[in-house]
């Protein structure tokens, strides 16, 4: 995602930061359904590409959604993931694990698409499970947010996870 448009005003940037803080809180409270229905656009594309370690001289193009992804999700895919959690029969989440999203480096740009914002942010996701299992996932997000009245919705999210080998047993979480 190229930098597009002009930097948002202080007030708009503040609104977006609060949007992300709310999103993080819903995740941490396991309110996935509320997150999906109140913060995600029905046409969302939610994508975590699989990236290789390549030499600088390697001219092959970066992956596109056609190359697949650890997430390559539509709204209904995200809905399926959440429905699974809602069955009450996901044994690895019972007892539930703890998760904490720290969101930073938020840059908000007004785009030439009316009502659309282009936003960069970074995440540090801490997971703690069972007695003493812990993992840390660090990376960045490239979002397109859409304004709908007083609210915003996530229309696109590209997640860049800063590790080749995922140093965690799975990524059954939301970024």
């Amino acid at each position: 995602m190229a930098e597009q448009g002009v930097l948002a005003t202080l007030e708009l940037a503040y609104q977006i930061e609060q949007f992300y803080n709310r999103e993080a809180r819903l995740m941490n409270q396991r309110q996935h359904r509320q997150w999906l229905e109140s913060m995600v656009h029905p046409d969302v594309h939610y994508w975590l590409p699989i990236t290789e370690v390549r030499f600088t001289r390697d001219k092959r193009p970066a992956p596109t959604p056609d190359d697949g992804g650890i997430f390559n999700d539509s709204y209904s895919d995200l809905d399926d993931r959440i429905k699974r959690l809602e069955t009450g029969m996901v044994w690895m989440e019972d007892p539930p694990s703890k998760i904490r999203h720290l969101i930073s480096n938020v840059e908000v740009f007004i785009t030439d698409q009316e009502q659309q914002l282009s936003v960069y942010s970074n995440f540090h996701i801490y997971r703690n499970r069972r007695q003493r299992e812990e993992t840390n996932l660090v990376g960045g997000r490239e979002d397109i947010l859409v304004r709908e009245g007083d609210e915003f919705k996530i229309l696109k999210r590209k997640i860049n996870l800063d590790m080749r080998v995922v140093l965690d047993k799975n990524l059954y979480i939301f970024f």
Partner: protein, 459 residues
């Protein structure tokens, strides 16, 4: 050398818990199993052009697999012959040489030492470059595009190593234009012993009904209604479990290859178009295999789900950790759109963030970690389900369990693990090639799996 004589009780089908934990057993596995077995390297579709390379592991040894100028494939240990530095740090690419980052030694894609900086000035032309190429993996071959390597030149040929398993795999590896792996592999760690996922994929139809119940309820379809909603068909009509020489094995559920796909219409249509080709080449039983859903492992550390079409290698990283590498398996004649559809469903279910993958990882880690306890690992694990009701089948090769849910393939896997761990060399293994079924079953044991006519009637 560790005493491996009493780790596996073949008659009772129990295994010492030490096999998931002890460092000395692991070290012996590196020598006897990873040092002697054919190990999956990559698929030819991942390195199509001369100069294409892919880096992987055989056991814990770092390996470069490279397509040669003449189209053949070679594999080398990814370690400089000067001071041992790794010479290639990329996952894949195309190159004319691998240049070591330490002193700049350059190796050709054929592994030969092509360039040494200051060779004349500092080695006075006394360096025998011809003998200092990258160490080549003794045997490299492919079976229908699946490239394997083996460190032991006395091993049987790859086609013999796969043996009767190759006949079963041909139903999809030799139809529809053949099979290929697509995409960049996902890589994840699991803190488990490498045998835990291998044994799970080789023979665990049992856990599907419980471990994956949440995901299957959401996916729906035939497995969703059978396992997710408890509407189980009669077991003897459901499928089969089969193990072949060298510890390979699989379980198959008839007619539901597409079961984990949420919108399988295009996939089912392709399978129905291809099915006559399979039957013409290999007969009706192969057709039954082609439209089934498989959980399978190739000894020692390669597994796949045919139908769901996820393909995995479990790279050992010490006795208590693995790297999971995951590709998507498709048939070449599928349209690009269908391949993408299958890839999406394969990753949604058994990718790093998969709805079923995450169920398994937890179990695999805990099955390993509990054995940290000294008293715990004095105990044994049990794989006796269906013991005594497996046998020969008049129409199917290998040892055939009597229904899909059983542990026949677990037993096949651990019987061969035990054989390899105790063998002095390959001759010690080859001598059992014609007698392994008799040694296991005695004479006369016959599988209760129905014959072909009955199986089709059930479907």
């Amino acid at each position: 050398m560790v005493n491996v004589d009493s780790l596996i009780d073949l008659d009772k089908a129990v295994q010492s818990k030490q096999v998931f934990w002890d460092q000395d057993i692991y070290d012996q596995e590196m020598e006897n199993i990873f040092g002697r077995s054919w190990l999956f390297l990559t698929h030819e579709s991942q390195i199509p052009e001369p100069g294409d390379f892919f880096t992987t592991f055989m056991g814990e040894d770092p390996i470069i697999v490279a397509r040669q100028k003449d189209g053949s494939v070679k594999a080398f240990i990814n370690s400089c012959t000067h001071r041992g530095n790794q010479v290639c740090h990329a996952d894949s690419g195309n190159t004319r040489s691998f240049v070591c980052s330490y002193h700049g030694w350059a190796f050709g894609i054929d592994g030969s030492l092509a360039g040494v900086p200051l060779e004349t000035e500092v080695y006075y032309n006394q360096l025998d470059k011809d003998s200092m190429g990258l160490r080549e993996v003794a045997l490299v071959d492919d079976y229908r595009g699946f490239i394997f390597g083996c460190f032991d030149e006395k091993a049987p040929a790859l086609v013999e190593w796969l043996g009767e398993m190759a006949w079963y795999m041909d139903s999809w590896a030799n139809s529809g234009g053949g099979a290929e792996l697509i995409g960049t592999p996902m890589k994840t760690i699991l803190k488990c012993n490498w045998k835990v996922p291998t044994e799970n994929f080789v023979g665990d139809g049992y856990h599907i009904t419980w471990t994956h119940v949440a995901a299957l309820q959401i996916i729906g379809g035939p497995l969703g209604s059978a396992f997710g909603a408890g509407d189980m068909p009669p077991l003897e009509d459901m499928g089969a479990q089969i193990t072949t020489r060298h510890g390979h094995g699989f379980g198959v559920i008839w007619d539901v290859g597409h079961a984990i796909h949420r919108n399988p219409q295009n996939y089912v249509e392709f399978q129905q178009q291809t099915l006559p080709e399979v039957i013409e080449k290999q007969g009706e039983w192969a057709g039954k295999m082609y439209t089934g859903h498989w959980n399978a492992s190739l000894f020692p550390n390669c597994s796949f789900l045919y139908g769901t079409n996820t393909f995995k290698v479990w790279h050992p990283k010490g006795p208590h950790e693995i790297e999971v590498w995951t590709w998507t398996l498709v048939q070449k004649n599928m349209s690009p759109e269908l391949k993408r559809e299958i890839q999406k469903e394969a990753i949604m279910s058994f990718g790093t963030a998969g709805t079923l993958e995450s169920d398994d990882g937890e179990n695999m880690e805990t099955c390993t970690r509990t054995n940290r306890g000294f008293q715990t690992r004095k105990g044994t694990m049990n794989a006796s389900m269906g013991l005594g009701v497996e046998g020969r089948h008049p129409e199917l090769p290998g040892v055939v369990g009597s229904n899909f849910i059983g542990e026949t393939s677990y037993r096949g896997f651990y019987r061969f693990w035990d054989e390899m761990m105790r063998a002095a060399d390959w001759d010690d293994v080859i001598k059992n090639d014609n007698t392994w079924v008799d040694q296991w079953l005695g004479e006369g044991a016959v599988s209760k799996l129905p014959a072909l006519d009955a199986a089709f009637k059930a479907a």
